[in-house]
Structure formats: structure tokens, C-alpha cells
Amino acid sequence: MTEPALLSVENVSVDLPTPRGNLRAVDRVDLKIGAGRTLGIVGESGCGKTMLSRAILQLLPKKAKLSGRVMFDGQDLVRLDPERLRKLRGRSLAVVFQDPMTSLNPVLTIGTQLIETLQEHLELDGATAKRRSVELLAAVGIPAPEQRLMQYPHQLSGGMRQRVAIAIALSCEPKLLIADEPTTALDVTIQAQILDLLAREQRRRHMAMIIITHDLGVVAGRTDEVAVMYAGRVVERAPTPVLFKKMHMPYTEALLAAIPKIDAAPHTPLPAISGRPPDPTRPIQGCSFSPRCRYAAGLCFREKPLLTAAESSDHQFACFHPVLPPVGIDA
């Protein structure tokens, strides 16, 4: 990647104090994304992907301690003063959350929420803002947009609400959109429509996008690069086709194998991963995946593997016993 990254997450860690002890939600994560590119972050519950997105947005709970840098468009968001940060959010940096019912204010009309955002960030007057809102709603595929402006979130279906949330997120032409499980709460036919919408808008605006999900199927066809997270760390990162075809992390391999495939015959036993995702308050010595890994051996239980590069510098993984030995590196 020769162009400078739009967003660069550098050695970010998030610690949360809990009654049970310190919880390392995110452990020394490095990520980069360039303008116009799509990054998928994949992981199961407890892997830290939501905390990471909050860390990028600087929306962590008060008790959380963040270390590292989050460089966005040349500025370190961690050190930025709150006023500048507030102006940045919504304008250049936008978010779409999982549950549109809770991310939209239930007591304000759709119109109010859209127009407020436009007026706040773009300083448009009322009439222009209203016109622009109608355009946005139409662009996200909502029929009869003028009427919708008067409606409340509960009067719309889940898919519609998510479209509205996307419209609000896109209203100020952000440079980066973070979509945190945007379709998990939606039906599969609506999911396809929403993902198409995001892809289309992204192409039109040359916008960078981060899709956070637990569904490998969602990232497969719609991202340029995928980062797999496990127990707070990024354990593998590669361009999407490379990740699916030539993965090195046993976790990635196991996750892919454990998903029921539509073209498999019924009653084919699924190669399940034994055990369960680790408890973040009980860090495991050595590699976090070692208790569940079929390839784990001596060193895996003692030391944590660091991210190392595979055959090309944009494919990195953290494992002592990778699935396919990378070319040019001794296993």
C-alpha cells in the first residue's frame, strides 16, 4: 500500500477494571485502512471487536484505559481535544450500529434526527437540510421519503430503520464508516439488501469502510482485507481472497470449517471446535487459542506468538504452528 493510510490503529490496548480483576479487552492491535478500501473485522463474542470499534471512535466507557495511537487523517484521536473530536465524529467518521432501534432516538422523528445532523455538521439551513434529507432517504432505498420524515422509528421495520441509520451516517459524506454488526439483527433477505446498499454507497463516495461481524460469509464477498480477532488480539490479517484460500491460523481454518455450508449434504458431521472462547478476565498463558487448537504443541502453551508476515507483507498471522507453512519462512 503506497498511499498513506486513512486510519492507522497503532499498538492499541484497552483495559477495563472489573471486580474480578483487570480485563484486557483489546491487546496491542495494529490495523491500517486506506481511503476507499473495505476492511472486515471478524470474531466471536468476547474477541474484543466491539471494544476496538469503540476505541477507534473514542467512545469507551469511563473506566476503560486506552493505550496506543489512533491516527485518523493525520490526527491522533486519542490526544485530540473533545471539541475537535466531536466535530470529527459524524462528519468524517461515521458509525452504524447493530440495533437500529436503540441507535435511533425513539422519541424524535426520523426527519428531526437527519436534519439535526445535517445542520450541526454542515451548517445548512432548515429548507436545504430537509431537501437533502429527502434525497438521502431516497438514496438508501426508502419509498415515499417525504412521508417518512414525519415518522418515528417504531413505525418502521427493522430493515427500514437500519437504512435510516445508514442515511444519517452517510449524510455528511464521511471519509470512514464503521459498521458494527450492521445486519446481524436483520433477516437474510434484508441483510443482502443492506450490504449491497453499503457497498454501493461506498463506491460512489470513495469512502473507507470497516465491517465488524461474526459472519465469515458477510466479509467474503464484500471486503478487500480481513482481520480475524481472537481473545483481544488480531491473529490473522490478509487480503480477503488470500485469507480464505491460504489461511495460516488454525483458528481461521477451524472457524471456516465449522460453518454449515449450503452445498454440503445434510447430516454431514461438522468439524466443531472443542471448548469455548476464553474468558477475558482469565488470560491464558501462551497462545489464547492453544486449549482448543488441534495443532498446539509445547511452545504454544508457554509463549504468545506475535504477528509475523507470511509470503507477502500484507498477510500476517500469529502462530507457531501455522496451517500451511508460509513460503520462505521456517515453520
Binding site: 471486580p19 474480578r20 458431521p269 466443531a272 472443542s274 471448548g275 469455548r276 474468558d279 478476565t281 482469565r282
Partner: protein, 290 residues
């Protein structure tokens, strides 16, 4: 072949951690006071106290001395003994009245929330009617009709507490009946009685108990207020409330006669509130967090 998952995290074996941290020194102080008051009230007859009714007209409003540790009141009666015997009254009424409320109100609430329909409308409606009566006038009317006695007072206060407990129980039951474990019990073929007693009651009991303790505090004050007005327990039985009432006359000369029962009542009510609140805070997260 199914994969076996035979391991359970050892940390689960550690059990609930650091609950103790939330039980601060205030909580324990409250517990200590409550134990002290209960013990004193229970053992009042066996303690080497002067009789609370013995009047010593020569020694009225006497300050604290070796004979009368807290002095005497306007009629020469030993303050300390009166305080301890007064505790008995306050605690009896304070505890027994909400017991009536929690049993009848709790049962009605659970049944209303579980069975819904016309029964629920009937129960809620009657409770609303009961609540519509101005409580003080209601109490006065009934006492005027039935006569002043501890039993009557306890009963009428208990009845007045039923609607609140009914509401707490009903609200808790409504949320719980929708949860899958109740449907699971129905799917297993459990009878209504079994579901109410085995599935719902253990979950409804905790909010009810927390409310109970707060209710005790409230009723102590209510009884105190009525006795202060002379409408509570009949003389010569004295409760903290009536002591405060009698102490009114001596406020310039011997203010302690009014203040000591007031402080006793204050500390007791505060303790019940603290313990009730802490219990509620402790039990809520586990119940709702999942």
C-alpha cells in the same frame, strides 16, 4: 460424533467474587444496630430494668443518674426502660403489618400477573379502590369503630400495605412469565401451582423481601406518627411515637425526652432502609443481567 465438552472453567468454581466489597461499614453498622434493638426488645422482660410504668412523682424529669441511666420522664418513669419497651411496640407493629401485606398482597399480585384476564382486572381494580381511600382518615375511622389496640392497629396498617406489595409482585410476575423458563415448565407439563411455587415464587420473593424491609421502616414511622397524635397504641402502653408526643411538653426543660425516642426511631428506620437497599442491589444484577 459429538464433541464432548467436559471442562468447566475453574474460575467458575471460585464462586461469586468480591461481593463482600459492596457490604461496606455502613451496612454492618446497620446490622449491629438492628441486632441490638431486636435483642433489647426481645429480652426486655428479663433485663434488670426498672418497670416502665412505675411513676416516681418526686423524681420527674430527672437527668441521667446511676439509678435512672437515661433519666426519667414527665411522670417519673424510667426513660431507658420506656425506650426499650417502646421498641417492642414499634418493632411489633413495624414487622407484623408488612407481613400481612407481603403474604396477601404478594399472593394476589402473583396470581393476577400469572392468570391475567378478568381476575387480574378485578384484583387491580380493588387495589386501586383501596388506594383511593385517604389512608389516615381510613385508619382513624376504623380505629374509632373497632377501638384502639395494637392488634387493630397492626391489622389496619397491614391491609393498607397490600396494594403496594401486590403491585411489586405483579410487575415481577409479568416480566417473568414471558421468559422462556416458565414456558419450558409449561411445556414439561407442570401444573399451575407448581409453576407458581417452584418457578415464579423464588424469583418474585427477592424484590418482595427488599420491599418488605423498606416497608418495615415506613410502618415504624406511621405507627410513630399515629401514636404521637395519640391515636395509635392506647395508654399506658407507650411506643416511641407516644414518647415523642409526651416529650413535646418538656422540650424547654428536658429536650432529651423527645429527642431520645426520635433518635432511636431514626436509627432503626435508617438501618432497615440501608439493609433493604443493599439487599436489593445485591440480588438485582444476578437476576437481571443474564
Amino acid at each position: 460424533m459429538a464433541t464432548l465438552e467436559l471442562t468447566i472453567d475453574e474460575d467458575v468454581a471460585a464462586g461469586p467474587v468480591a461481593r463482600k466489597r459492596r457490604l461496606g461499614p455502613l451496612f454492618w453498622a446497620a446490622i449491629v444496630w438492628m441486632i441490638f434493638v431486636f435483642a433489647a426488645a426481645a429480652l426486655a422482660s428479663v433485663l434488670p430494668l426498672a418497670s416502665p410504668t412505675d411513676m416516681d412523682m418526686l423524681d420527674r424529669r430527672a437527668p441521667a443518674s446511676a439509678v435512672h441511666w437515661l433519666g426519667t420522664d414527665g411522670l417519673g418513669r424510667d426513660e431507658l426502660a420506656r425506650l426499650i419497651f417502646g421498641a417492642r411496640i414499634s418493632l411489633t407493629v413495624g414487622l407484623c403489618a408488612p407481613v400481612i401485606g407481603i403474604t396477601i398482597g404478594g399472593a394476589l399480585g402473583m396470581l393476577a400477573g400469572y392468570f391475567r384476564g378478568r381476575f387480574e382486572t378485578l384484583v387491580v381494580g380493588s387495589m386501586d379502590v383501596l388506594l383511593a381511600f385517604p389512608p389516615l382518615i381510613f385508619v382513624l375511622a376504623v380505629i374509632a369503630f373497632l377501638g384502639q389496640s395494637i392488634l387493630n392497629l397492626t391489622c389496619i396498617l397491614g391491609v393498607l400495605g397490600i396494594p403496594t406489595f401486590m403491585r411489586v409482585a405483579r410487575a415481577a410476575t409479568l416480566t417473568l412469565t414471558r421468559r422462556e423458563f416458565v414456558i419450558a415448565a409449561q411445556a414439561l407439563g407442570a401444573t399451575h401451582a407448581r409453576i407458581l411455587l417452584r418457578e415464579l415464587l423464588p424469583n418474585v420473593l427477592l424484590p418482595l423481601l427488599a420491599f418488605f424491609l423498606l416497608g418495615v421502616a415506613v410502618f415504624i414511622v406511621v405507627e410513630g406518627s399515629l401514636s404521637f397524635l395519640g391515636l395509635g397504641v392506647p395508654p399506658p402502653i407507650s411506643s416511641w411515637g407516644s414518647m415523642i408526643g409526651e416529650g413535646r411538653e418538656s422540650l424547654e426543660v428536658a429536650p432529651r425526652l423527645a429527642f431520645m425516642p426520635a433518635i432511636a426511631m431514626f436509627l432503626t428506620v435508617l438501618s432497615f432502609n440501608l439493609v433493604g437497599d443493599t439487599l436489593r442491589a445485591l440480588t438485582d444484577p444476578r437476576q437481571g443481567a443474564l
